[in-house]
């Protein structure tokens, strides 16, 4: 069981000594059940840090955002930032290191193991509780959550309200860390990995298109999935013409001649294109934190789309994203034994 007091003490120590600029962690949210991400800069605030099953967010995103902010501020503070990372978050950090987004020295990874239970899925929990409202959720032994509602505390089997991705989790323990809190438990294995994808593949082509066409049709193109993804760090996004950088010396002609790969209107064809571009850009990079699916306001099963190529990476190319920062990325490497029979 993870000792949060140790986590707080460690963060406090780092901030008191001034060895890190900020500690990104979780604190109790004022709105709703889920914890909120917090950037802590003062040692006194370190007591706010928590770690419980409501800490669902992937904090690797804040490392990416922090880098952008530091560049905007033209800050010369070169101290590292500390980040609280679960197993999946640590894999995201590994992928970012693999891509040289930042150096290993610039980040201090405080690994936390979510052990047997993983994190909670707020939608599943709400469904389970019916008309009771969950106020807090805590770890309760190896395979249960203690959920506090307005009618008292009850124990719920973790497998019933655990996030989908946690059921399939293959490495709950951080693979990359400077310090770890919690017991090492690598595999949870409550569900077979990629089972949703495998079930979907078995359906007919028409059914699959009918399914995805319904999903893409719903998309509002709010780009929440892109904003929450730690891997979507490009300043200019090919699918969004308003993100194109306009410098003082960009001529009107240059602006006019930029390729618009897709229209900005949320038409089905354009949204389909957007989601496919994102899926292909995440091939071999997606570490299955399922944040895109969680933040989607219209419940598009984005995790299903992204895990399709993760399954291919894992089963065909034996590539597991975020396992080793020294490894070349999936699409920047090849083997002689790669599939060739699909080519005529």
């Amino acid at each position: 069981m993870i000792d949060v007091a140790q986590l707080k003490a460690h963060a406090k120590g780092l901030l008191e000594k001034g060895t890190v600029r900020t500690v990104f962690g979780y604190r109790k949210s004022t709105a709703g059940l889920l914890a909120e991400p917090a950037g802590i800069t003062e040692a006194a605030q370190a007591d706010d840090l928590i770690f419980d099953p409501s800490c669902v967010q992937n904090l690797a995103l804040y490392l990416v955002n922090d880098k952008k902010h530091q560049a905007e501020k033209r800050s010369d503070d070169k101290r590292p930032v500390a980040v609280v990372a679960k197993g999946c978050d640590s894999r995201a950090i590994t992928v970012l290191l693999q891509e040289n987004h930042f150096s290993r020295e610039s980040v201090h990874v405080i690994g936390v193991s979510c052990e047997g239970t993983g994190v909670v899925d707020a939608r599943k929990l709400a469904r389970k509780l019916g008309n009771k409202k969950a106020l807090a959720v805590a770890f309760d032994g190896a395979d249960a959550f203690a959920v506090t509602t307005n009618e008292g505390t009850q124990s719920i089997a973790a497998a019933e309200v655990m996030a989908e991705r946690c059921l399939e989790c293959r490495s709950a323990h951080p693979t990359l860390s400077d310090v770890v809190f919690g017991e090492a438990k690598a595999e949870r294995g409550l569900h077979t990995p990629f089972q949703a994808v495998k079930a979907k593949i078995k359906e007919s082509e028409e059914d699959r298109w009918a399914y995805w066409s319904r999903q893409f049709d719903r998309c509002l193109r709010c780009y929440a999935c892109r904003s929450v993804c730690p891997m979507c760090y490009c300043d200019e996004c090919v699918v969004d013409s308003i993100s194109f950088v306009i410098a003082p010396d960009t001529t009107a002609e240059e602006k006019a001649n930029r390729i618009k790969w897709i229209e900005r209107s949320p038409a089905k064809s354009e949204s389909a294109m957007y989601h496919m571009v994102r899926a292909i850009h995440l091939a071999g990079r997606c570490i299955d934190c399922a944040e895109c699916e969680r933040v989607c306001p219209v419940n598009i099963p984005l995790r299903l789309l992204n895990t399709r190529l993760e399954m291919e990476a894992f089963e065909t190319f034996q590539y597991n994203p975020g396992s080793d920062p020294e490894l070349p990325t999936l699409t920047s490497s090849f083997r002689d034994t790669d599939p060739n029979s699909f080519i005529r």
Partner: protein, 150 residues
């Protein structure tokens, strides 16, 4: 003349639009060879020469379908023959992933294809085009990813 029309049009009058991305060093030269050898093959492809199949971005494929292509072909040098030594190995992996993704969202299998055609294989290029056009004629126009633009 009558015979030419018969081979170019089937009963429904559907003529597939195919975008063919051909590597400059092999497939493009292969298509040239098919031409100068006076081989008969369907003229449905719009050839686009790219420097290497490894420079093929998945965006090109998706964009072609978005703009109404009925089929997309990517063609490069045989493994080991790449002008840039290993570009086609990268392409193979990338195109494989694109193909899996397109299949997963439910685009018809036959619409996206990759082939290895060397500069000496004019006949093979003609055959690849012939097969591709025949297969696409069977499944009809591509409507799933095509943008509805005025």
């Amino acid at each position: 003349m009558a015979k030419v029309e018969q081979t170019a049009k089937d009963e429904t009058g559907f003529e597939p639009k195919i975008v063919a991305f051909l590597c400059k060093w092999c497939s493009s030269a292969g298509s040239d060879l098919a031409g100068v050898s006076r081989l008969q093959y369907p003229s449905n492809a719009v050839p686009i020469t790219i420097m290497c199949s490894g420079s093929m971005s998945p965006m090109f494929v998706l964009s072609a379908f978005n703009k109404g292509a009925d089929g997309v072909l990517v063609s490069g040098c045989h493994p080991g023959d790449c002008h840039y030594l290993k570009g086609n190995f990268y392409a193979r992996r990338k195109i494989y992933l694109v193909q899996k993704l397109l299949q997963f969202i439910g685009l018809e299998n036959d619409r996206f294809r990759m082939s290895w055609v060397s500069a000496a294989e004019g006949a093979k290029f003609a055959q690849v085009m012939h097969d591709f056009v025949t297969d696409i004629k069977k499944i009809g126009p591509q409507t799933r990813l095509k943008a509805k633009r005025p």
